[in-house]
């Protein structure tokens, strides 16, 4: 059985949902945006904090979506990039007194380099092999952060405490609210960038590789370049999400960035709908709130309840929130006709 050659026609890694845009329509987008802008005024600080985390995880899921939904590569190692971003911010803020806003682009650049370099050896791997390689990266990351010679910078097992920024220019806002709006601006900027990236020449190259790598390379797409580029961009965005996460939580420690985080982000992408960018926020909501709901239903069985809910989602809507959105659209269309 070994070393025998086998010829297969590979099915694309990502199943095609009826071809639709990757985004919401303009009207819906504006409604969502308005809701996101107004909501914090009416709720308590803790809920604002949770909404901030929702945006941050949404951003990290979006990054994975660009990689998987865009270029068709799996990753179970996003928590590693998230950790690198978080630590970059924490170290810069606490050891070098860099302004928190400035640490974001730096974290982005560092993670881009990290992701691009990791993408190089990963180029030769695909499917489950790539999943395992990224999985390895995610398992290794907490251990690497605990290494002795890095302890002076990273604080070792103890981690680092990050100072929460005050609202600038004496704006009458709580720290939480300021951070929420700050995050919202960053997320919207990156969302617009991502939409444009996927619609650009590079984005079409990603999708050509996703749909059929060999055909793409035959058409002259530089497969190696675009695959590593997708890794780099995805890592950079995940890194920025990590930075925001470090500022919001005010703390970084190796054990916050384990494989569990990577798996959560992956689940968020599946629940939101692979390749559908607005789904990222829905997916993030699933991974943040469903475990809480599960805990509410039964403390001892929270994992089981979470698992059952996840099964329900993948049975009822295998393509995630995207499918719900499409069904909603069709329903709306039918109502309009009548």
């Amino acid at each position: 059985m070994s070393a025998a050659e086998e010829v297969v026609t590979e099915a694309p890694a990502i199943e095609a949902v009826p071809k639709r845009a990757m985004t919401l329509g303009t009207g819906t987008s504006l409604v969502v945006l308005a809701a996101l802008l107004i909501a914090p005024v009416f709720v308590k600080n803790f809920i604002i904090f949770q909404m901030t985390m929702l945006l941050i995880y949404g951003l990290a899921v979006l990054a994975l979506n660009i990689l998987t939904g865009g270029s068709g590569q799996f990753s179970l190692g996003q928590s590693a990039f998230y950790a690198v971003g978080a630590y970059t911010t924490a170290v810069l803020m606490e050891h070098f007194n860099v302004n928190y806003a400035l640490t974001l682009p730096i974290a982005g650049v560092v993670c881009f380099a990290f992701g691009f370099l990791f993408g190089q050896p990963a180029l030769r791997l695909s499917g489950v092999y790539l999943a395992l390689a990224t999985f390895a990266l995610a398992t290794a990351m907490p251990q690497l952060l605990k290494l002795n010679f890095l302890e002076h910078w990273t604080g070792g097992v103890q981690g680092l405490v990050v100072t929460k920024p005050d609202a600038p220019f004496g704006l009458p806002m709580s720290q939480d609210m300021w951070l929420y709006y700050f995050t919202l601006v960053v997320v919207i900027a990156i969302y617009i960038f991502s939409v444009n990236l996927l619609r650009s020449r590079s984005g079409r190259a990603f999708m050509a590789i996703r749909d059929n790598e060999i055909a793409a390379s035959a058409m002259g797409v530089d497969v190696a370049l675009y695959k590593t580029l997708a890794f780099g961009v995805s890592a950079a965005i995940t890194g920025i999400a990590g930075s925001l996460g470090a500022i919001a939580v005010q703390f970084v420690a190796p054990d916050s960035y384990t494989i569990t985080l990577a798996i959560s982000l992956f689940l968020g992408m599946v629940v939101g709908g692979v390749g559908w960018l607005p789904g990222s926020i829905v997916g993030a909501a699933f991974i943040i709130f469903v475990p809480n709901i599960a805990e509410g239903i039964s403390k001892g069985l929270s994992g089981a309840v979470f698992g059952v809910l996840l099964f329900l989602v993948i049975y009822l809507v295998p393509h995630g929130a995207r499918q719900v959105a499409i069904m909603g659209q069709q329903l709306a269309g039918r109502l309009r006709k009548n």
Partner: protein, 292 residues
């Protein structure tokens, strides 16, 4: 030198467990083309069943056999009830399903048997093996059971009608269906066998890592690593991979300075990635040629 031989032998003993786990992973991978992330939890649950039986006074080997039968049936049931509806779903949905199964089993085991660490008996005893200080009788027993299991599987796949049918269903499902093989049941059978093999791995390693709901986490990662290293399409490769990973893990922990127990896993995984970069299909995997 004695330290070296010691470490290699201990590596072979743990490698035997990784080999069992890797074999279970490869069995399911062959049948449905997916890595089963819940394999370790399934094995853990089976091990708990056998422990519970022994608490009720069932002798070791009787509990062993009952657990095997239970695992086999449970594996088939999981396939029929949970994963058959997902056959046509995208790959990522299947992975999410495995993660859901993982959460369900882990949490139920925690609820039924709680998270305290339990002693698990060994049928072989823990005295030095044949008077030698190098390995214990339990380690020798682990290697022995794995070898027996391998031989059994080899004969099953090579010399029985149903083994042949399973191989056919896994490699060319369309043609297998045309000659009258019920491929859907072959997949279920693959699940049942994989679950049973996993439960053997669980029962063998439980005396070493102690029994608790999270006991298989590390073992499963090594099992995956072994399967991928040997080649996901080759059961033989999975076994060789298991032994190699076991030995390498021990040697790296002993000889590379600063590695210790903490970094063993990352180092082992780094090795595997390096192997894959050079040989993407694993050491014994089939080379797959793609066309448009």
């Amino acid at each position: 030198m004695e330290l070296f031989t010691n470490q290699v032998l201990a590596g072979i003993a743990t490698g035997a467990i990784y080999a069992c786990m890797a074999l279970a992973v490869v069995m399911i991978y062959q049948a449905i083309d997916h890595l089963n992330f819940a394999q370790g939890e399934m094995a853990m649950f089976s091990t708990f069943i056998s422990w519970q039986l022994m608490q009720w006074g069932v002798p070791y080997w009787a509990a062993f056999v009952i657990t095997l039968a239970f695992s086999f049936v449970a594996g088939i049931a999981i396939e029929r009830i949970l994963f058959k509806p997902l056959t046509k779903a995208p790959v990522l949905t299947n992975v999410a399903g495995f993660i859901a199964l993982f959460a369900i089993i882990n949490s139920s085991a925690g609820l039924i048997w709680d998270f305290t660490i339990k002693q698990y008996p060994t049928p072989f005893g823990s005295a030095p093996f044949l008077g030698s200080q190098l390995i214990s009788t339990h380690q020798a027993g682990m290697i022995g059971v794995t070898v027996l299991l391998l031989l059994g599987l080899y004969f099953f796949f090579q010399y029985t009608r149903i083994g042949l049918a399973m191989r056919a269903a896994a490699s060319v499902p369309e043609s297998a269906r045309l000659v009258g093989i019920n491929t859907s049941w072959m997949i279920a059978l693959g699940w049942g066998m994989a679950t049973a093999i996993g439960s053997i791995a669980g029962m063998l390693i439980a005396p070493v890592v102690f029994l608790e709901p999270n006991m298989m986490g590390g073992v499963l990662i090594y099992g995956f690593a072994a399967a991928v290293l040997g080649g996901l399409t080759s059961p033989f490769g999975a076994v060789v991979g298991g032994f190699l990973v076991g030995i390498f893990e021990n040697l790296a922990g002993t000889y590379i300075p600063g590695v210790g127990n903490e970094l063993k896993l990352p180092i082992a995984l780094a090795l595997i990635i390096s192997v894959l970069v050079v040989k993407p299909a694993g050491l014994f995997g089939r080379h797959i040629v793609k066309r448009v």
